[in-house]
Structure formats: structure tokens, C-alpha cells
């Protein structure tokens, strides 16, 4: 028990003293997460929208592929990305292994399927009723597309928040692709693993506190967005057909 309370006290002290090593990890996490999230959104939102909105041959296959990607453990993604980025790998020339962009690349592979899948599901679930509604109000093809996009905004924000939560707390990819290099690619999660391995529980707990706070904020945001995106806006009264 005093193990825990001791660690906690030291952790708070570290945070209050703005310990540079601790904040370097926090900073790197922020950068990597931002890059990966932006990349996931820039690619994932249009892809997810297209997947949910348009009917095209191979769509079910694409959906299946995305859901499969969702279920891959992050160590497997890490391994795949390592194999891609290693100097002897197909993308070795890019020199991305053990670098911040490399980690962002790997974490994008984690975030992208989340954004695509959640966006597609959101667009799909609103689509039939919304399409009918918009068409009956006189929307042309482009107006329909645009309005559907705007109507899915909360769901997309929810997808973004969820992806953020996964990316920021990820460790397998960050460790394998980033290499946990001090001052450079050490993130909150890899630092926690390292410090705990070294028996430095205080640093581990300090970083854990930061991560827990981030998680709290993200969860609050997700809760808020879920409330908004789930509201039905339904109009059909009672029974009748």
C-alpha cells in the first residue's frame, strides 16, 4: 500500500516540478497522436463516408476488411509496420523507423479503421431515412451528399474522439516502431512500461496520471457526442404504415 501512496506522492511532485523527462514523453505523445489523428481523419472520414453512403460492388468486402483491421491487436500492427519500415523492408528508404513520423504512420493504421468503420456505420444508420427526407424536401444530388455529410458530423466527431483515445493509449506500435528513444520517441505509454520495468514507479504513476486525465476528457467528450449523435430526430408517430 505505501508502495502505491509513495509512488503517488512522488508522481505529483514530478508533475508539479515540470520534470523535463516526464514532459518530453507527454509532448511526444501529443505530437504523435496529433499527426496520427489528423492523418486518420483526413483519409478516414471521406473513405468512411463513401463506404457508408454509396452502393458499389465490393462494398461488403471492403466493410469486412475494415472490420478485420479493427480487430487486429496492436502488436501485430506494430510488427507489420516494423517489417514495412525496417531498412530492409519495402519502405526502408523512407528512413521512418524509430522516428516520430514512423510512429505516426503506424498509429494511423490503428486509427484509420476506427474512423472509417464508425463513420460508415453512422452514415449507414442515418442514411435511408435521411435520404428520403432530404429528397422529399427537394435536394439534388450534391445537396444530398453535402447534407448527409453535415448530418453525420456528431458521429464523425465521435469517431475522431474514439480514435484519439485508442491512439493516445497505444503501446505496442509505439514501442516497436518508435523504439522508445529517450527525448525523441519515448511516449507516455512506452515510458510507463520502461519506468515500471526499471522499478521507477513514481515516474510511471506520474505519466499514468496524465494519461488518465486525457482519458477522462476524451470519455466525457465521447459521452457528450454520443448523446448528440444518437438522438433520433424521428418524426414518425405511433404505428401505421
Amino acid at each position: 500500500m505505501d508502495y502505491f501512496s509513495e509512488g503517488l506522492t512522488q508522481a505529483v511532485a514530478l508533475l508539479l516540478a515540470l520534470d523535463p523527462e516526464t514532459f518530453s514523453a507527454v509532448w511526444t505523445t501529443a505530437i504523435v497522436t496529433a499527426l496520427a489523428l489528423i492523418a486518420s481523419l483526413v483519409m478516414g472520414l471521406p473513405l468512411g463516408f463513401a463506404l457508408g453512403h454509396f452502393r458499389f460492388p465490393g462494398r461488403r468486402g471492403a466493410r469486412l476488411f475494415v472490420d478485420w483491421m479493427l480487430s487486429l491487436p496492436t502488436v501485430v500492427i506494430g510488427l507489420i509496420v516494423y517489417a514495412l519500415l525496417t531498412s530492409r523492408g519495402p519502405l526502408g528508404e523512407w528512413g521512418l523507423l524509430f522516428s516520430v513520423p514512423g510512429m505516426a504512420f503506424g498509429l494511423t493504421l490503428l486509427g484509420l479503421p476506427i474512423v472509417v468503420s464508425m463513420t460508415a456505420t453512422a452514415v449507414e444508420s442515418t442514411d435511408t431515412r435521411l435520404t428520403q427526407t432530404l429528397l422529399s424536401l427537394g435536394a439534388d444530388r450534391w445537396q444530398l451528399l453535402l447534407a448527409t455529410l453535415i448530418e453525420a458530423r456528431f458521429a464523425m466527431a465521435l469517431a475522431a474522439a474514439t480514435a484519439f483515445g485508442r491512439i493516445v493509449s497505444e503501446i505496442g506500435i509505439a514501442m516497436m516502431v518508435g523504439g522508445n528513444i529517450k527525448w525523441h520517441t519515448r511516449t507516455i505509454t512506452t515510458a510507463i512500461a520502461l519506468e515500471t520495468g526499471k522499478g521507477e514507479f513514481a515516474t510511471g504513476i506520474a505519466l499514468g496520471i496524465v494519461l488518465m486525465l486525457v482519458a477522462l476528457v476524451v470519455n466525457l467528450l465521447v459521452g457528450l457526442l454520443r448523446g448528440r449523435s444518437n438522438g433520433t430526430g424521428g418524426v414518425s408517430g405511433g404505428g401505421g404504415a
Binding site: 489528423i38 531498412s87 526502408g92 523504439g179 528513444i181 529517450k182 522499478g199
Partner: protein
């Protein structure tokens, strides 16, 4: 809802700014970074942290490292993912060079391993040599915690069973394959009342923190086979992408009188941990 979009937009914009700032900040660093593939022991003891500013001052190289098990470090070297290797598994290192992955191997320092176990010492190994100790542990079926992670320490332990002329007891119920770092293994050994092999650096740190509470003590030390030789390996020219020149420069520093003196000067809890032994 409008407020929310504003917040989201601001968050995104802020993240982007941060990302760009870092990109520029990174580019502004003048020192030439060199990436060392090394084992957890050199990093976790704090030796590399201690040497970084000295190396930067003497050579202009900014030493960075990926600290993993020896097996993985060698794999990184094989894949040309690091610029230079600093490892401690002579057998595997020689094979690494024979297979054409490295061109040279220079021994430059050593530390040593110790056999630790519960103070009650159920297998009665205190003061015995390593071979006799391991035999006694096996005969009494006293629990033994093994790193089990293909690290240098793990390889060393496997070699010691060979020295004791015994088969590797990895299928025995008293033999615990931990699969984690040294400190985790020590903690598990303490909890299970098991013997284990540890490098002295991790042991000193563990002992300083633990202050004898866990009941683990050194039971066998000083045996010649327990010496742990560290070498620097230059990677093969096939690794065209790496910094061969910087790697040579770094090696030269470690082998130089200055570098050797700095290694000896590193103290953990007041005790010297690494002993320079570069060939003159």
C-alpha cells in the same frame, strides 16, 4: 453544437501547430544523432545517460539508443535499423559477424552477474561456485526464475547450465520463464522465493530501493564464468543507409583512454558497475 465545432477545430489547429513546431525544433538540432542498438542493462543502469553529454562534448555526436534484449538488438543490427551495436553475448556476436552482418567486434568493458536467491537458501548454495550451485538448485527442485526473453542475461544463464553440464531445465515445474526485464524478474523471484541470475547493475539498483525487504541476497559471485563482456559491433557495409563514419567515431571514443576513464567513473549507489577493458 456550434461551440463544440469551434472547440474541435481549435484542438485540431493546436495539434497541428505543435506538430510543426516540433518538426522545426528537431531540424534545428546541430548535433549529429547516432542510433545505438543496445541492451536494457546499459540503458537501465543509467550508464548511457551519464555518458551522453561527455560524448557530445568530445565527438559532437548525440547518442540515442534503442534498448532491447540482445536478440532483438542483433536483429535491429541485421536489418540496418541502428548505426552501431553495443551488446553482451559473445557467442551470438561472433555468429552475427560470421553471417556477414557485422565487420568488427571490439570488447570495451565488462560487468558481472551474480546468483541471488532467498536468504533462507533452501538449496544451500551460498559460497559455492556457479556449476555446483545450479546443480544443487536442480537437485532440490528449488524455484529458479529465468528471464526467458532471449536477452543477454538469458543467454548467459543458458550458458551456465551448460557449464554445469546439465540439460536446460526449461520444462521443469520449478523453472520459471518470466519473459520480462531484469527488475520484473527479480521482483517475481522475490515473491516466489526463487533463485535467479542477475547483472550486478540491476541488482544494486534493486537492493538500494528494496533495502532487504524482499529477502533476496547474493549467494554466489566472483566466479569467472559470471563475467559479462560488452562489445561494440560495426555493421556490415551492406547497410548503406547507416552512419558508418559516425559509428567509427563513437567506437573510437569508447576505446580511447578518455572513454575508458568515463566508463570507470560511472557509479551507481556509490559503486562502480562497469569495468573498462579495451585492448590497448
Amino acid at each position: 453544437m456550434r461551440k463544440l465545432s469551434v472547440i474541435l477545430t481549435l484542438t485540431l489547429a493546436l495539434s497541428l501547430t505543435m506538430a510543426l513546431t516540433l518538426a522545426f525544433a528537431g531540424a534545428a538540432l546541430a548535433a549529429e544523432p547516432i542510433l545505438v542498438g543496445t541492451t536494457t542493462s546499459t540503458a537501465d543502469t543509467g550508464l548511457l545517460d551519464y555518458l551522453v553529454p561527455k560524448i557530445l562534448k568530445d565527438t559532437g555526436l548525440e547518442m540515442r539508443w534503442i534498448a532491447v534484449g540482445t536478440g532483438k538488438a542483433l536483429e535491429h543490427g541485421k536489418n540496418c535499423d541502428v548505426d552501431i551495436l553495443m551488446v553482451h553475448a559473445p557467442g551470438a556476436e561472433k555468429k552475427f559477424i560470421e553471417e556477414g552482418n557485422g565487420v568488427s567486434r571490439a570488447e570495451f568493458m565488462y560487468n558481472d552477474f551474480v546468483l541471488v536467491g532467498p536468504a533462507k537458501d533452501p538449496a544451500r548454495i551460498k559460497g559455492k561456485g556457479v556449476a555446483d550451485s545450479l546443480k544443487a538448485i536442480a537437485v532440490t527442485k528449488a524455484p529458479f526464475a529465468s528471464r526467458g526473453d532471449d536477452s543477454g542475461t538469458h543467454k548467459m544463464e543458458q550458458g551456465l547450465w551448460k557449464v554445469a553440464a546439465m540439460p536446460l531445465p526449461d520444462k521443469e515445474s520449478w523453472y520459471i520463464g518470466v519473459g520480462q526485464g531484469m527488475l520484473a524478474t527479480l521482483r517475481i523471484a522475490a515473491e516466489r522465493g526463487a533463485y535467479t541470475l542477475t547483472d550486478r547493475g540491476t541488482w544494486i539498483k534493486y537492493e538500494a530501493k528494496d533495502q532487504g525487504k524482499s529477502g533476496l541476497v547474493i549467494l554466489s559471485e566472483g566466479d569467472k564464468v559470471l563475467l559479462n563482456q560488452y562489445s561494440i559491433i560495426q555493421l556490415a557495409p551492406k547497410c548503406s543507409n547507416i552512419k558508418h563514419a559516425a559509428a567509427k567515431k563513437l567506437e573510437a571514443w569508447f576505446l580511447s583512454a578518455v572513454g575508458q576513464k568515463e566508463i570507470a567513473g560511472f557509479k551507481l549507489e556509490g559503486k562502480q558497475l562497469f569495468f573498462p577493458n579495451a585492448a590497448k
